[in-house]
């Protein structure tokens, strides 16, 4: 058993706060982090008192330096790796959560760090943040949804530049392309994250869940089906009052 937590989970009022906590490794994403993040995220999702989930990274250097490559390729085979991926589908869990997910990121936001950010709804960055997708350079394919979520969030041209060319993106550019929604100073990042989370926590959770569901599912449908979904969701909200 690992003796220290690599994901910290704290409840502050209606906000469930998850902290990636391997600061000596710039919170590099490893198997233990995957398992602890899955458990903490599930706990926050299942807890009716938690209305908003906030994710940040410990330490001064960054939110997440990407996958811990020292653990790569330790699965006995591709068949086993694939089975494990879907047995503990952390990224699917992110996508299924109907509570607002807020990311507060700083410093190095690399590879899976960018992908975790993209799986959150509201994304705040400190002005020192640098975003980068180095997978192709390492002969890897992003595996936490980056090839899908980046193009949907920041457009095709910017995505290809990050994914194929490993081009770094600074915080200002990330703001202008919609990778993040607000920039703040590094020292106020967590305060701002909580402030945003608390505004969201004051809203009707059923409406928020319904809005998330309708937007996300609707994007995968032809427009007429999306309009139908929106009407059904509205009717459900009204009848539940």
């Amino acid at each position: 058993m690992p003796d220290s937590d690599v994901v910290l989970y704290d409840k502050l009022g209606a906000v469930g706060h998850l902290v990636l906590n391997r600061p000596k490794a710039i919170n590099a994403f490893n198997i233990q982090m995957r398992d602890e993040l899955y458990l903490s995220l599930s706990a926050a999702n299942d807890d009716p008192e938690v209305r908003v989930i906030l994710i940040s990274g410990a330490g001064d250097r960054g939110f997440c330096a990407g996958a811990d490559l020292s653990e790569f390729g330790t699965a006995p085979s591709q068949v086993v790796a694939r089975r494990v991926r879907w047995e503990r589908d952390l990224w699917g869990l992110f996508m299924s959560i109907r509570k607002p997910l807020v990311a507060a990121v700083h410093g190095f936001v690399i590879g899976s760090g960018v992908e975790i950010t993209c799986l959150c709804d509201i994304r705040i960055a400190s002005d020192d943040a640098v975003f980068r997708m180095p997978e192709a350079a390492l002969s890897l394919v992003p595996a936490a949804g980056g090839t899908q979520t980046l193009s949907r969030n920041i457009g095709l041209g910017e995505s290809m530049n990050m994914l194929l060319a490993n081009s770094p993106m600074n915080a200002q550019r990330a703001l202008s392309v919609g990778l993040v929604h607000r920039l703040v100073s590094k020292k106020s990042l967590l305060d701002e994250g909580f402030a945003v989370a608390e505004v969201l926590a004051a809203l009707d959770p059923r409406s928020i869940a319904s809005a998330k569901q309708t937007i996300q599912t609707g994007l995968d449908m032809p427009i007429d089906q999306g309009i139908g979904l929106e009407r059904r969701e509205t009717a459900k909200l009204i009848s539940s009052r």
């Binding site: 699917g92 394919v141 095709l156």
Partner: protein, 258 residues
């Protein structure tokens, strides 16, 4: 054959295949000869295992001003005439990364060709537009589909309906091009970008391009499945082991494409 000047040339710079539209005396306008030559060049770049990235540019100071209308004079009224002049599927079917070096104007079919590439480096002096509606047409080589997917429905609709010509700074703001540089630096900057990409794992590049492009037409969940499966498939490649080893040993990787 001494005076024979091919309408499209194919050269190599390291791992980068360079395809050049080579009819600058006709503003690199697409005619039927070029359609065949460009299709051939694209196929060669696609099939050559030594090529890991492709660069597409124009000779002279124009990238491509559109379609050679003299080709259309006789058959302009027939839809089948356009079939002989379409080139963008040839470009888009290259599964390796393709960088457009927009050394000058990319208008009408010229812009459609640029849209069929993955990344665009443009000259500060270049202009961009799809002006088909002014002639009673619509973009017919992929423009109505690729432009909205690149810059969003709102901006694409405005560009196409108004037949508006954009300068390079606006093209950069809209995300129509990735990078703008002085005219004399466009090709060298684009080769630099293509060479950077060609230093990455070639199979990873191709799988990433496939996951992004195919994923656009899928639900998010289906796209996640495709990405994951390509990522597992890549685990069987020796380049993947080399990528990890080079990272852990803090040295540049030596990929083989295997």
């Amino acid at each position: 054959m001494a005076d024979f000047d091919p309408s499209v040339t194919l050269t190599r710079d390291g791992r980068v295949a360079i395809i050049t539209l080579n009819r600058s005396e006709h503003r690199n306008e697409i005619n039927v000869d070029m359609t065949f030559d460009l299709a051939d060049a694209c196929l060669s770049a696609q099939q050559d295992d030594e090529v890991w990235a492709v660069l597409l540019t124009g000779s002279g100071d124009i990238f491509c001003a559109g379609t050679d209308e003299s080709e259309l004079a006789s058959g302009w009224q027939e839809a089948s005439a356009l079939d002989r002049l379409r080139v963008c599927e040839s470009v888009a079917s290259i599964d390796k990364p393709v960088v457009a070096a927009l050394n000058g104007d990319a208008i009408d079919q010229g812009l459609e060709i640029a849209l069929a590439c993955d990344l665009r480096v443009a000259s500060t002096a270049a202009s961009f537009g799809l002006t088909h509606l002014e002639k009673g047409f619509i973009p017919w080589d992929g423009g109505t589909q690729r432009l909205p997917r690149l810059i969003g429905t709102s901006r694409a609709t405005e560009m196409i309906l108004s037949s508006r010509i954009l300068a390079s700074d606006e093209a950069l703001d809209l995300g129509l091009v990735n990078l703008v540089t002085e005219p004399e630096d466009v090709v060298s900057r684009a080769i630099e970008l293509a060479s950077t990409i060609a230093r990455h794992g070639p199979t990873a590049n191709r799988y990433i391009k496939e996951a992004v492009m195919k994923g656009l037409d899928m639900t998010l969940e289906q796209g996640m499945r495709l990405e994951a499966d390509l990522s597992f498939l890549l685990q069987s490649a020796s380049d993947r082991a080399e990528g990890l080893a080079s990272f852990l040993e803090r040295r540049p990787p030596t990929y083989t494409g295997k």
